[in-house]
Amino acid sequence: MVVATKQGMARVDELYRERPQRVKELKSGGKKIVGYLCIYPVLEMMTALDLVPYRVVGDMREPITKADSYMPPVVCPFLRSCLDTGLKGKYDFLDGMVTSHICDVGSSLSGVWNYTVKTPYHYHIDTPHTVHETSLEQLRGLLGAFRKSLEEFTGNKLTDAMLKAAIALHNEQRALVRELYELKKPDPPLISGAETIKIIKAVQSLPTNEGNALLRSVIADVKARKNGPVKKSARLLVWGSILDDTALMEMIESLDANVVMDDTCVGSRPFFEDVKPTADPIDGLARHYLVDIKCPRTFRAWDFYATKKNYMEDLKARFSYLSDYARDWKANGVIVESVRYCDTHGYEVPGVRDYFKEVGLPSIYLEHDYTEGALAPLRTRVQGFLEIIG
């Protein structure tokens, strides 16, 4: 098997340019590669069975031409792009595809993918939306079924021991990513927002152990290097939907700002909470994927059973982690980003901005249609925002 010669950021750049490179090597070595959409499919289970989880994303630099036949232009352009990429054969190396009920379009994409792209193994996890005991119990049941299905697919038994080992490995990865984000606390940060996306995307293109190794070498690399980002007047937090391309970050950071923290899913979102160790590993996993990951696709509330509603308490319960980020990473402004036609983020925007207003963090809302070229017009908005806070 070919072993990667490059390490650290050099390896990251390599993988950012040619993502499937390593998994294709592994495939030729007999490993099974399983694609997953968004961050809700339970990676630990795949890793435990020696499957290689591979994050499926779109390509905002490639015009959508084939997906139109199956998904109208009025739905999430990111998911349309994922399908388009699949229809163009760029995910043909996948042995399996796992999706979950992230959102309406995500679910319908699952069906369309199954019908058109026809990845050999296909599984859809009907993840609930609410955060309370009943839905947790439901998710535990669903994960049991997923476990069975994976066992049939691989022909191997998935024991609790294997699962616990995998959880440990993934928690290690989460810890490493958090360590990486520590390097964004200094002023100037040691890594830029654009680089962060590259690193996370690279990690999401590798088997977990290799991803961890890469993270270690990157952290060493970054600590050592002299040519990191320069000091800028603004330190920004970016909250939003998928950013799987550096284009937007590069635009922001070409101005008088560094992006020092994010809450996005090719960023900190999947990594900032560990899977808690539990007697039955499924309990910890269910809690992690339903409660801990904070994507607007989930209905999180101040107190699910509250008979009195208090808007600010509710916002605090849902978003206080964001003001913690701002405090710890010394952010002085927030970019609220969403891809057009994203309902779950769309409904969250007024609330999350109310919260930032309440805690005195200036914010700006940027909506884009997941087309690299079309980001240019946002430049003036961002610069204007920086002039206000700067």
Binding site: P63, I64, K66, S69, P73, A374, A376, P377
Partner: protein
């Protein structure tokens, strides 16, 4: 002697065709301007003069296009897509997929051997997928419409347009020029963008040979070439592609009169 008249009142230009036993007797086109009624009248006058017949000689007039409802002398109306399908079928009986690039929208139409529409798709509610985009850019770059195609083919690095809006395509072209991008590259960019849009429309209805192109857009040999490259097929293009829909209207006029179609 039965004469049939087909008029296609488009928002950019209006075209008319007079036929006699399936033969084209006269064609004429005019800028539509701001009044459909007026242009429809002028158009008929011109056509009758060219055909050297009088209004009374016309057996049946079929109107189509944006302003079809404003043609006071019409005996019937038909949707432009049907007309286009019939028109192309009469010129190229073997055509099964038709790309009709009009000023305001682009249609891709699948037809059967009778020239009946069996599937079709129209570009979205925005002019970026239509011939108007080419006009606007040609105008900015001060290149005559006939030449933009040839020029665009000279470029090997088409610029990527960041806007879907035809109107803004203009200001974007302006700033690209300012950035020092060559006219060739800009024109190539516009043609490529349009060819990509057309290709995805073709994807949607599914392409069946033979494939033809008509409408004002087909006047640009450059666009035809770009689409051929993009689809990898040879396109059948009639000598006067802008009249195909009007011709089809005349054919439908005849069908209607002889009770063949409802």
């Amino acid at each position: 002697m039965a004469y049939y008249l087909g008029v296609d009142i488009g928002s950019g230009t209006s075209k008319g065709v007079v036929t006699q036993n399936g033969q084209v007797l006269a064609v004429h086109s005019l800028r539509t301007g701001v009044n459909y009624r007026l242009v429809a009248e002028k158009l008929r006058t011109e056509l009758l003069r060219n055909a050297a017949i009088s209004a009374g000689d016309i057996t049946f007039t079929m109107a189509t296009g944006q302003g079809a409802g404003m043609v006071d002398y019409a005996d019937g109306q038909a949707a432009d897509i049907r007309c286009c399908a019939r028109g192309m079928n009469s010129i190229f009986p073997r055509v099964r997929t038709i790309i009709d690039v009009e000023g305001q929208s682009t249609q891709v139409v699948r037809v059967n051997d009778h020239g009946q529409v069996i599937n079709f798709v129209i570009s979205e509610k925005c002019a970026s997928g239509a011939g108007r985009f080419l006009e606007i850019i040609a105008n900015v770059l001060q290149v005559p419409l006939e030449e933009i195609g040839a020029l665009s083919l000279k470029s090997d690095r088409p610029v990527v347009f960041t806007t879907a809006c035809a109107v803004f395509g203009e200001s974007e072209a302006v700033s690209r020029v300012a950035e020092g991008v060559s006219k060739e590259d800009i024109l190539a960019g516009v043609h490529k963008a349009l060819a990509d849009k057309i290709a995805s429309l073709v994807e949607r209805v599914g392409m069946e040979p033979e494939c033809g192109m008509c409408g004002g857009g087909a006047l640009s040999a450059g666009l035809v070439e770009w689409v051929q490259r993009r689809l990898g097929v040879k396109l059948l293009v009639p000598p006067e592609p802008q009249f195909v829909t009007a011709l089809g209207a005349a054919i439908l006029a005849r069908e209607k009169w002889s009770g063949k179609s409802s």
